[in-house]
Amino acid sequence: MKIEVTVNGEHQSYDVEPRMLLVHFLRDVVGLTGTHVGCETSLCGACSVMLNGDAVKSCTVLAVQANGAEITTIEGLAQNGELHPIQEGFWECHGLQCGFCTPGMIIAAHQLLERNPKPSEADIRRGIEGNLCRCTGYQHIVDAVQYASKKMTT
């Protein structure tokens, strides 16, 4: 089936099988491997991307469901070679260890800060509850989101 999507601002059209998952489409067809396949059961959040402004787990969306949609992946956050403030926060606060969960964490944080620019620590923990870090580095991730919140609101 033919679908048209805008990925990180670039309009593209592809022919995909209806059963192809969005995460596999992004990685294997579009070639953007920043979005990770973790659990593939909508639990871990590593595959999170923005779909028409909503953070979604792209392992639980069919590529055909994204027909006509705007998608932002981790690759689309940095602008003109400058890290997005959330990415900068993860860098500054050591918000990643192995880095596998990081793209999804950043997308979840991105959604959270859009809806709640000055979240409390509890808000942040709730905002990223759909994302698992198997290095268990949550404290630094929370610090990173707080860093970004501060930077983005001042």
Binding site: M1, E17, P18, R19, L21, E40, T41, S42, L43, G45, S48, D54, A55, V56, K57, T60, V61, L62, V64, Q65, N67, A108, Q111, L112, R115, R126, G127, E129, G130, N131
Partner: protein, 285 residues
């Protein structure tokens, strides 16, 4: 996933035509957060998937003076974040906020969850406690079914082949009403090991004029705890503990798995019934 044909109708009429044409070979896709996982596990292997997300008008949530309408394709987040619902009927956004996680709530739909009727889903308890009406489109026109007649058994509802759930309607609770939804989350998935929704209205003396309690996660289908309601009507908050002891009266079969035994779920049902009722009465006062 086994291969399938994908249809994305733009109108309810064409969706109905597809559903009727393909019958049992087809599955209706709403947010996909139950169907897609089932298809990955090959618990479901439809040869046709009919995606309702492009059907105009099914996503709307409106809160009028008397009635709240939730389109079947409205996401959990649309209910969680609706501007008017906290004051009109706080039980709805409170329940939505308890589902899964932010990404799941962005995508999963109220109608999808209800039509799927997972025994551990959150919405059925709340829909029972709010006496919701479900509007269903079928080959012979529209019909409405009360939540209390809808949830039949494990993943079985009153929805018939060829029918589509289109809208949920809820009467705005009267003055001096309060609701609460409390649950024990299965820590990985967030599904309810037991979840209890309570909605009460108080009379001038502060006693319960009406009580409705919905329980999910405990039995093969969510149910109304009528014995609890009967024990509490006309009584005040002091009677909550004794009433809640009846939370599993009449339940013949308990859900049981490696996460929680039937006995434990029954215990949770009684404890959370007490908590939900206490909170609901507090909020109504």
């Amino acid at each position: 996933m086994t291969p399938f044909d994908y249809h994305a109708p733009k109108t309810l009429r064409s969706a109905m035509r597809l559903v009727q044409a393909f019958g049992d070979d087809a599955k209706v896709l709403a947010g996909g957060h139950s169907l897609i996982p089932s298809m990955k596990l090959r618990l479901a292997a439809p040869s046709v998937v009919i995606d309702l997300s492009g059907v105009a008008g099914l996503k709307r949530v409106t809160a009028g003076n008397e009635t709240i309408s939730i389109g079947a394709l409205a996401t959990h987040y649309a209910v969680e974040s609706h501007r008017l619902l906290p004051s009109k009927c706080s039980l709805l956004p409170e329940t939505a906020a308890e589902i899964g996680d932010a990404q799941v709530r962005n995508r999963g739909t109220v109608g999808g969850s209800i039509a799927h009727a997972d025994p551990a889903a959150d919405w059925p308890a709340t829909m029972l406690a709010l006496d919701a009406q479900f509007d269903i489109a079928g080959p012979d026109g529209e019909r409405a079914v009360a939540a209390s007649d809808f949830f039949v058994d494990l993943f079985i509802t009153d929805l018939q082949p060829g029918e589509i759930l289109t809208q949920i309607r809820i009467a705005v609770p009267a003055e001096c009403s309060g609701g609460a939804y409390v649950k024990m989350r299965q820590s990985a998935s967030g599904f309810a090991l037991a979840g209890v929704a309570a909605q009460v209205t108080l009379d001038d003396a502060g006693n319960c004029a009406s009580v409705a309690v919905g329980v999910t996660g405990v039995a093969p289908a969510a149910y109304r705890a009528h014995a609890v309601e009967d024990a509490l009507v006309g009584q005040g908050i002091d009677a909550v503990a004794d009433a809640a002891a009846h939370a599993t009266d009449g339940v013949e079969e308990f859900q049981e798995d490696h996460h929680a035994s039937g006995d434990y779920r029954a215990h949770l049902a009684r404890v959370f019934t007490q908590r939900a009722l206490s909170q609901a009465i507090d909020r109504a006062a």
